[in-house]
Every structure is written in structure tokens, then in C-alpha cells.
Symmetry: C3
Subunit: 350 residues, 3 copies
């Protein structure tokens, strides 16, 4: 695709073109990082990049560059570049859009594979693709344009909306409700039974888990992640919430809109997560905890009590990030602290 054509497309986007220089108008075939790019590649530099990355734009072999318009250092450099460039408010968004143009999403097979096993009274919308060895239980609905890859198992009475991608060997349990434009990655499990057992004198009494899981529109679930259903009621993942790999969402959890949860996060039963909450890798949230809108927790944070909206927390138990940074720095001084106290004590005892 000629760079001029790419610019035309970007003008319709939210990436915000500010300026550009087209001299060679290269034919862009692929995309790559500044370091690895070669001829006919397009590459980009993010806003607020580190200085060593910025210098790469002078040496990269890419044929075209997407650059941040708000960076004086860059604005100086671009004048000297021989390569074609585009200055944008959001070069990363532009790069994402160009990847969409250059690499259209592929599906494995169109239509319904003859090896798929489809139950009774299953409603399948137009343009649905169902891969090899898929199983779909009775009374399930699949909305228009949804793509279900090989080996997926969908139990009974599941309602799946339109334009979803459901990757290989993932499992969706009975009663689950999936919105539109969701992505469920490979080997994820949606709607497995919550972990509920009551201690009795005869051992554990199992609490039946008869609730359901609801994924709202534009939810993405990572490979191998597990979203449990509750004993009664619903587990709800809010619209546009993105969940990475190997994440555990317990029974009865609700999350708001636009959250992001990195890999190996674990959220225990009944926790209530607000909108736009960011949880970094390996964060744990205890059961029934409430987390307000916009909270950010750094990696490995253990949240065992409620967190107010807008807080940035770290550590275990979670505390304000700034406090944690100071406490952690001082943790390394504990041997010195103990030594200092001993010296003081000795001096005082004289």
C-alpha cells in the first residue's frame, strides 16, 4: 500500500495527523519495530519514548515513520531525515490501524465444518464460522459473523452475540451470555462452577453454582483464563474490559467498563471492581472487596480491603503506591536500621 494511501486512511482515524513529508512515497508491505525494520516497512515511535529509542529514527531502515507531533527533539530531527514521515498526535494508534490494513484478520475455515457437532434448536446467525470438532449444546444461540475456531465446546443454553472471535479449545458453560465483538482466546473457560464448599462434620458440602457469567460487549479474555459462575446471580465482566492470560475471576465478581487486567491476576469471589481499573500482573484481590473507579494496582499487589476511586496502590497488603515505594526502599535498609538501633542503645547505656 502506497504511503499516500495510508495517509488518506489515517485522516479518517483518531490518530490525529499534524504534518507529513512524502518524497519517495514507498510501497508499504509490512510493519516492524525501529530496530528490526527493513525496506518497505513502516515503523513508529511512541509518545514519551526514551532517548535511545528516539535516536533510532536516524538509523532505522524503515521506509516510513509514524512519529509523535508533541516532541521537540523529534521535530528537530525529522527535518534532516531522508525517509518519509508522518507526525501524529497518537502515532501508536496510527500504527495499530495500519496493522489492521496490512494484515487483515484471517479465519481458519468459512462456514460450518462438517465435523462440528451441533445440538438441537441451535440458532446460528448469518456469516457464522464454526470450526472442526466444535461442540455446541442444545438451545444455544450464535450471533451473526461470530467465528468459532476448532475444538471449542459450548454447553447448553448459551447466548452469544455478533462478531465474536472464540479461539480453539476454549469452553463456554451452560447459561453464559456473551455480548458482541468479544474475543475469547484459546483454552479459556467461561462460566465454570465457582469454588463454594461449606464445612460440615462430614466433610465439605458443595454449594451448587447455578448462576451465570455475562461478558458485555468488546470484552476480551486471555488464553487459559477462567471466569467462574456464582451459586446464584451473575458474574459480570463490564463492556470493553480486557483480561490477559491465566487470569482467575471468581464467582460473583463484577467489573466495570474499560478495565485492564494483566496476566495471572486473581480476583476472589464477590469482589466489585469499578470502571477503568488497571490491575498489573499477578495482582490478587480478596473476596468481596470493593475497588473504586480508575484504581491502578502495580504488579503483585495484594488488595485485601476496599480501595477508593482513583487510588494507585502497591504492595501486600496494598497501600498507596508512593508510600510503598518509600517503605520498600527502607526495607532494604533493615539490617542497617537494626545496627543503628544497637549502636544507639549501646551509647545510651554508657
Amino acid at each position: 500500500m502506497q504511503l499516500t494511501k495510508i495517509i488518506e486512511k489515517l485522516k479518517l482515524s483518531q490518530s490525529g495527523i499534524v504534518d507529513f513529508k512524502i518524497k519517495k512515497n514507498p510501497n508499504i508491505l509490512t510493519a516492524a519495530s525501529l530496530e528490526k525494520a527493513k525496506e518497505n516497512d513502516i515503523s513508529f515511535l511512541d509518545n514519551n519514548s526514551q532517548l535511545n529509542l528516539k535516536h533510532l529514527i536516524k538509523t532505522t531502515k524503515a521506509s516510513a515513520l509514524l512519529l509523535p507531533a508533541d516532541d521537540n527533539f523529534i521535530i528537530e530531527i525529522v527535518k534532516q531525515l531522508t525517509v518519509d514521515w508522518i507526525l501524529l498526535k497518537e502515532p501508536k494508534i496510527a500504527f495499530a490501524e495500519i496493522l489492521e490494513f496490512l494484515y487483515p484478520a484471517e479465519i481458519e475455515k468459512e462456514g460450518i465444518h462438517k465435523s462440528a457437532v451441533i445440538g438441537d434448536n441451535v440458532k446460528i446467525g448469518p456469516g457464522v464460522s464454526i470450526g472442526a470438532n466444535v461442540y455446541i449444546g442444545n438451545n444455544t444461540e450464535i450471533g451473526a459473523g461470530t467465528i468459532i475456531h476448532a475444538g471449542v465446546v459450548i454447553y447448553k443454553k448459551v447466548r452469544i452475540g455478533a462478531k465474536n472471535f472464540i479461539h480453539a479449545n476454549s469452553v463456554i458453560h451452560s447459561g453464559s451470555i456473551i455480548g458482541n465483538q468479544c474475543v475469547i482466546n484459546a483454552n479459556a473457560v467461561i462460566g465454570g462452577e465457582g469454588f463454594g464448599f461449606v464445612p460440615t462434620s462430614n466433610g465439605w458440602k458443595k454449594m451448587p453454582q447455578v448462576g451465570i457469567v455475562i461478558l458485555k460487549n468488546k470484552v476480551e479474555i486471555g488464553s487459559g483464563s477462567t471466569i467462574d459462575r456464582p451459586s446464584v446471580g451473575e458474574t459480570i465482566i463490564g463492556e470493553d474490559t480486557k483480561i490477559d492470560n491465566l487470569v482467575q475471576i471468581g464467582h460473583g465478581v463484577t467489573t466495570g467498563k474499560g478495565c485492564a487486567m494483566a496476566a495471572q491476576v486473581g480476583i476472589a469471589g464477590g469482589a466489585q471492581i469499578g470502571d477503568a481499573v488497571i490491575l498489573a500482573g499477578q495482582v490478587g484481590v480478596s473476596n468481596k472487596v470493593k475497588i473504586g473507579d480508575g484504581v491502578v494496582a502495580s504488579s503483585k499487589t495484594g488488595i485485601i480491603s476496599n480501595v477508593e476511586a482513583g487510588e494507585v496502590v502497591s504492595g501486600f497488603p496494598a497501600m498507596p503506591n508512593k508510600l510503598w515505594l518509600r517503605c520498600s526502599a527502607n526495607f532494604k535498609k533493615l539490617p542497617e536500621i537494626v545496627k543503628a538501633i544497637r549502636q544507639l542503645d549501646r551509647r545510651n547505656s554508657r
Copy 2:
């Protein structure tokens, strides 16, 4: 189901009816939490609930309530309620039993699906259900009434007892022995090879893992959890032990009876866990560690050395929970501690 009929059934259970009031004798159709219940719902209040939950029993729209008999606050309130109620020693157990009455377990398909691939010399007991696209290797045995959902893969020479539920796309490796009344949730892996490599001058030498995994009766394994087999001997999960999602059990681990392990717990090879041990979410246990009966570890605890029976531990490395609570509280004071020492030092130097 009429409330009077529910009471009859509960009289046969271990939930311990103490008193009840039947006035409207509602037809109970579904179950829900106090907050979300509507007409014809039954709901419950657990023993030792928080005060704000207790107040909900005055406003809930449920048609019948299961309430704790040991709570004076509740006993006062119930006299004024217009809704029908039952006072019980164990209202949560009663609720679990009522869920069983109201929501009988469903299976996807009865019988053996024609797409299932079953090896040579496989013994299948009466009432077994085998779902679509299941694979069962040679010389495997499946006991009476066991339900195997779609896409499950069972390797050779596996012995599976009666009345088990094996959910979609889970995998059971060769030689594994599964008792009766177990639940293996979706995408779990039973009997994968342990992680054993010996360093040599030519790189890693693989230690063959020729042992097996044994799940005793009433064991439950969560979605995506992995139970590894050892190089020689057995990995054993004791009777009535319940394991949540995304839990890793290393090669040669043994657990006692009635344990509970929450999501994302990891137990390294050769650890020996006693009876009735409770491990909260994201706990780690180092290899060959021995944990005594009745030990409780709170979330994210890292157990790197033996723990005596009955201890409650927290933190990393694990310490008695009460000590950890005090240490954690003081961790937050580290900046003040350092400041105080500096001041003392300055005063002393004068």
C-alpha cells in the same frame, strides 16, 4: 416447590431446623441473594453476617428466608417479618440443599456420542455418558454413572471410578487413577509430566516421569488446574480435597483429606500436605516442605519450610499470622522509623 415441602426435605438434612413460620407457604421457584431476590425466591443469611446484611432481611423481596438460629438480633427481627422464614443451625447448608432440589444437575447428552473415539479394551460401566469428540485410549476403565463432557482426552490405562463429572476439554494422562464422585473441571490436566531436568555439561537431561497421579474419592479440580505425575511413585490428592482454578500441584506432592486450595496456589514437587489444610489464593509452597494437619495459610503466603499442625501462617517467608499482621502494620511505618533513628542519632551526637 411449596415451602412446606422444602421444610420436610430439610428435616432429613444436617442443616438443623430450630424454628419456622409458615403463613403464605409460597411456591419457591428460584433462589437468590437477599439483595437481588424477588417474589417466589428463597434467600438466606449466613451465620456471623455483617450488620448491614442482617438489615437486608427487613427489605428483601424474597418470599422465604433461611436464617441463623444462633443470632439474637435476627431472633428479635423475625417476629416482625411478614415473610415466611426458617431458623436453622446451618442456614448456608440448607441453602446448598435447596439449590440441589431447585436446579437438578444437567448433562449435555445421555449415552455415548457417535463422534467419540474409544480405544481397544475400554471398559465402560452402566449409565456412563461420553460427549462429542471425546477420545479414550486403550485399556482405560470408566465407572458407572460417570459423565464425560465434549472434547475430553483420556490417555491409555486410566482407571476412573463411578459418578464423576469430567468437564469439557480436560486431559487425563496415562496411568492416572480417579476415585468416585470427583469433579474435574474444564481444561484441567491430570497426570502431566513433572518438571524434572538434571543439569549436565550438554544442557538439561530430562528425568523421565513414569509415576502416576491418584485422585481419591470426592476430589474436585478447578478449571485449568494442573496436577503433575512424578518420575517414580505417585502424586496423591486426598479424599474430599477441593482444588480451585489455575492451581499447580507438582510431581510427587501428597495431600491429606479435606483440604481446600484456592485459585492460583502453586505447590512444588514432593511437598507433603496434611489433612484439612486450607491454602488461600496465590499461596506458594516450596518443594519437599511438610505442612501439618489443619494448617491455614492466608493469601499470597510463601511457605518455604515445614509448618507444624494447626498453625495459621502468612507472609513471605511464612510466619505466624499474628506476627505477620504486626510486622505488616510496622512495614508501613518504615519511613517514620528511619526518621526517628536519624533524630535519635542527631540528639545523641550533640
Copy 3:
């Protein structure tokens, strides 16, 4: 197998026979630990074993023993043993090799199962085994002697080398490149899409993930582990690197040769791991961090900044292991530390 025949085989190996005593020349049928061994079993004692294990060689019922040649305590004892024994430089390696002799790897089915679904233009080498209900996408290549177990899903344009084991229900995404002699365990996901979303005023903008995953020769991936592909370029797992269960490798990560990563490790996007790096269970590595050759991180370590080659690190944030040991020991003294400061303050205030 007669013990004399085992000795002949070991002479060809790197286990280093130093001495042996053959008296009964038992027929070795199986292998077991010292504690559990019975007649016709072979067992072993590792170098640097604990004293209580060493004493077991006097009481074990094994018919033959593999023992370390560098241990004076053992050398004294063996003279008195009635059982046959072999002294070796590397008894654990010898044990691994004997397990290979005694328990040849089994495959579920030879050839290509008739229920497998194989796309167009798929190249399949000689001696390949493809299990039941496997799906292989168009234009994929499978090298000689590779064994693919039931339920595996391989997307389009995947290149898989020779002599790999790919276990049940694992998933390999489009474009992935797998070397030779790799093991991919059950329910692992290779090449799932990286977790990349750019915040915009309209919610998350998805960054397409059009890169690939490369597993070099002799890589092993544990059950349920997930190796993500990047937006552009490659995620690379170096030769002979071994990855345990439920490990997350983020988009664009590269690892060197001969690394070992224990269960539930999580490595965030773009991290660069050197050769021979050892990460113990539940370790986390932040995005874009560089870890030098030979680094060892103990369990639960959180690595948030670069680590120099050869360092041994622990704690969160990671610090040198020796410092961490002292800090952790003093962490337990925090209540005493606070008390001591108060006393000093009181004395000073007088």
C-alpha cells in the same frame, strides 16, 4: 533387564561409573525411591543428599542402588551392603537413563487417525502420528517423527520440526515456528495474541498482534502455559529452555538457551532473558526488563528492573538474595524495632 546389562548401557553415558559391585545381578523391572522400592527395583541417591536419606540405603528393599562416588560416608557404607550397587559421578543422570530403558515412551496411536481434520497443502513428514480429533490448518508443515496427541488444534501456516511431542488439547496459533525435539504439554497455548491495547477517548484501541512465536530446538512448555505472539516481530524461546506449567510468556519476550522457569512464572511483554537463567515458582518479570546470563531468582521474586549476569536475586522488588535473607529476617523483628526506638526516645527525652 539384568543389572550387568544396565551397567553396559551406562558405560556409554555421561553418568560416569566409578565402581560397582555385582553379586546377585538382579533382574531390574522397575524403578522407585529408596523409601518405596521393593525387590527387583533400582533406586538412587543424589549427590549432596541429606543424612537421613543416606541412611535409607541401609534399609531400602531395592535390589540395586545408584550411589554418588564423591561421598565418603557412602563409600564407607557400601562396603557393608549386601545389595548390588554402582558408584557414579552423576547417579541422578544414570537414574534418568535407566528410566528411559525401563519405560519406553508410549504413543497413543500410530499413524494418522481417521477423525483428524487436516487442511489443504499440509506437509506431513515420515513417521508422524496424528491423534483423534486433531485439527491442522492449511499450509502447515509437520516434521518427521512428531507425535501429535488427540484434540490438538494447529492453525494455518505453522512450521513444526522433527521428533516433537505435542500433547492433548494444546493449541498452536498461525505462523508459529517450532524446532525439533520440543515437548508441548497438554492445554498449552503457543502463539496466542499479545495483550496490547492503547487507551483512547473511545475506550481501548486494540493493537493487532501480527508477529509470531518461535520455539527453538529442545524447548519444553508445561501444561496450560501460554506463550504470546507480539504485535510485530517474534517472541523467541531459546534452545533447551524448559518451561513448567501455567507460565505466562508475554508478547515479544526473548529467552536465551538452557533457561528453566518453574510453575506460574509470569514474564511481561518485551523482557529479554539471557542464557541459563533460572526462575523459581511464581516469579514475575516486568515488561522490557533485561536479565543477564546465569541469573537465578528464588520463588515469588518480582523483577522490575534489569539484573546483571550471574546475580542471585529474591524479594519484591528484587534485590541480591543475601541482602534479602537478612532483610526478611529483620522484617520479623519490626515490632521489636519499633519498641526499641520508643524506649530510646523515652530515655533521650528525660
